[in-house]
Symmetry: C2
């Protein structure tokens, strides 16, 4: 029988009633003849509670223990979902990551899936089981410790299962009914997209549109997994939600597909570092080893052989970054005058594959922001996106102004 | 280095502050030179919450899924405890049941530990780790599914680890400061015992004194594990709490060591069953297969070849028992006129190894209850205990009267 992967986020399984509603939705697909692999998140709020406990216990925690604690929420949902399905007479059982096993790297708290053997689950499908409920977000390291895939990792779990099992489609059920031109809470004019290309979705995901985890989109693109984002709170037709697909499948599109933003950014500047070859690799190598995800990087013009190095990073990694750099400094690995941190910045980006063929998007973006008095701190660009770092207080203003300027409320 | 096992119940690890306090207590033992194996329960309330969800989802649940859900609470505590110890610079890591692995039978929700390989943990002790924090109450079946040991299973986990690792002692930290002659909440005259024999403790535990799980005491007796029950909320000396030990180590003792009781009992009567050989084995075989723990059994005198069969069982197993018997009846396996259930009974018992050599204890017990107008529904006796089933409303009265009559407030 064809395999369908369905993934449900935390708000979709927030309580027993919602789990029951989701189980009915699964039952509909089983009745259509699918063998279904269901990937579940923790009940909403649970993972945050667990992360909070870990942070309070140990601010610079052992990531192996973090993973052991934080993965437990998904296990609860998986068991409850299997029981709910059984109550509906749908043959189902739960799997925890290590039971499949979802084999990952040892990079705790942000592990990558290396392999998903299909034999265990396929054998059960062969015996008449119709739904395998898998705890998302988790796996097992070569050392036999529990790993997690990082925030939103359940999306990645879902796509990886869809790829491994050759699923017909991977449906990501969430609390929004699709991918929007921007966050509707920030701009009421935001419009739902029926289709979006993998490339655009990738930029939107990595830029903070929290609908899908970046890595899940990368994986879907690489393995050609048909990915659909839809709401678990609405009655569904086969055309509901947003289909993430190859750009060839999209006939018409705006130059700019969407305006993405990320609120929890910090800007860090290393003042007066030696401007010599290899200095960037020392700095960013050190930060990378400390698990810091540096994003936008700018280097000032050199004066008397010294320069300033500015970059952005998530606010919750600032402490870690400071510690790593202080250690590097005191061990003599790097000399700098001071470390300047601005916790009150945000990133805004416009994204669209149409930019490849149309020029002037950047100029228009900068003018729109300038007209509203928004000062741009850092700029980075790629083939299909332009990002700027601005003071956080201007974030909503900037998003709305850009959405208006590029007329995203209108379909192409 | 000598190994010490320390077990902490749910109230001892109810929040991060308490986990920190417990970690300090562990640190004291590490400083004394012990390699410590810590067995933790779920934070108090967590397991009940999970069990509640399972029951609400599926009243006659698949016990394999029950175990997958319910075991998650201990995993959280284990990770948090390891992190707390690391923060105190005590080298520690967490183990979930399947990681040790704690190998159990497949009897889900009430599995038995079959084997605990010591090599993984001993290797880590050899590398300088000082504390292995193990999630209690759980293990792994031969089929690779998660199992749990039943309520209070963390005590059993602790004793099994103490036996497997040849620990010097197994300290069970709980919210009471030892074993009492009865529950102090019911009788204010209850007195803490400094020592109690394994046999007496076994009867007290199985009769509902919730200090230690029955099986943990059985195991301790079989493997001669020195077992100590003490409070995690008080400063501890080496003589704190109650030592559970061989009766040879106890010099003087009262005829009756304690009055135990169990509130959540139900009485079930099968009316008019055929009085023929094998009928009891059919009834109780059926109930046993359904996972019902029948306790006290009485059979009425036969009339015209039919008899009534009465027995007690925990109230939460009544539904299960009814279903099993109805199925047996409709399949023609057993004929009976009716099934009578009384949910409002309680069990009260007096326990003491002194009863072996002194007669008249039963007569005295019945007289005390009769004097207070307490009607006795069912009686069972063993070498060192006498139990009666009474209407639940008389429970407190009966316990206090018996405690007074046997002068348990006075040490021997």
């Amino acid at each position: 029988m064809p395999v369908l992967v369905m993934k449900f986020g935390g708000t979709s399984v927030a309580n027993l009633d919602r789990i029951k509603r989701v189980a009915k939705r699964i039952g509909v697909e089983v009745a259509k003849g699918y063998d279904v692999i269901v990937i579940v998140s923790a009940m909403s709020g649970k993972t945050n509670e667990l992360v909070g406990w870990v942070n309070e216990t140990s601010p610079l925690f052992d990531a192996r223990e973090y993973d052991a604690v934080v993965s437990s929420g998904e296990n609860v949902t998986a068991g409850l979902m299997a029981l709910t399905l059984q109550e509906m007479d749908v043959p189902a059982r739960s799997w925890q990551g290590w039971q499949v096993p979802v084999m990952t790297t040892s990079a705790h708290a942000s592990a990558r899936i290396e392999e998903i053997p299909t034999d265990n689950i396929m054998a059960k499908f062969g015996e008449g089981m119709r739904v395998a409920v898998v705890a998302g977000f988790q796996g097992i390291s070569p050392e036999g410790r529990i790993t997690t895939l990082g925030r939103g990792g359940s999306d990645t779990t879902a796509v990886a299962f869809a790829a491994a099992f050759g699923a017909e489609r991977c449906d990501i059920y969430t609390d929004v009914d699709g991918v929007y031109t921007t966050d509707p809470r920030v701009s009421p004019k935001a419009r739902k997209l029926d289709k979006i290309s993998f490339e655009e979705m990738l930029e939107l995901a990595s830029l903070g549109a929290k609908v899908l985890q970046t890595r899940s989109v990368e994986l879907a693109m690489r393995y050609k997994v048909k990915l659909r984002v839809l709401s678990s709170f609405e009655e569904q037709s086969d055309e509901a939600g947003t289909l993430v697909c190859d750009e060839e499948e999209i006939m018409e599109s705006n130059v700019v597909a969407g305006v993405a933003f990320s609120r929890d950014e910090a800007k860090m500047t290393l003042l007066s570092v030696a401007d010599r070859p290899g200095i960037a690799s020392i700095i960013f190598g050190c930060l990378s080893e400390a698990g810091v995800n540096v994003d936008m990087i700018v280097q000032n013009i050199s004066e008397e052989g010294r320069t300033d190095m500015t970059y952005s990073l998530p606010t919750d990694q600032v402490k870690r970054a400071e510690q790593a750099l202080d250690e590097l400094k005191s061990s003599g690995g790097l000399n700098f005058a001071d470390l300047d941190v601005d916790m009150d910045v945000a990133k805004v980006s416009v994204v669209g594959i149409g930019m490849r063929s149309q020029s002037g998007v950047a100029a228009k973006m900068f003018k729109v922001l300038s007209d509203d008095g928004v000062n741009i701190r850092v700029i980075t660009t790629s083939e299909i996106k332009i990002s700027v770092l601005i003071d956080r207080k201007y974030l909503e203003l900037a998003v709305q102004a850009l959405h208006d300027a590029f007329e995203l409320e209108k379909a192409a």
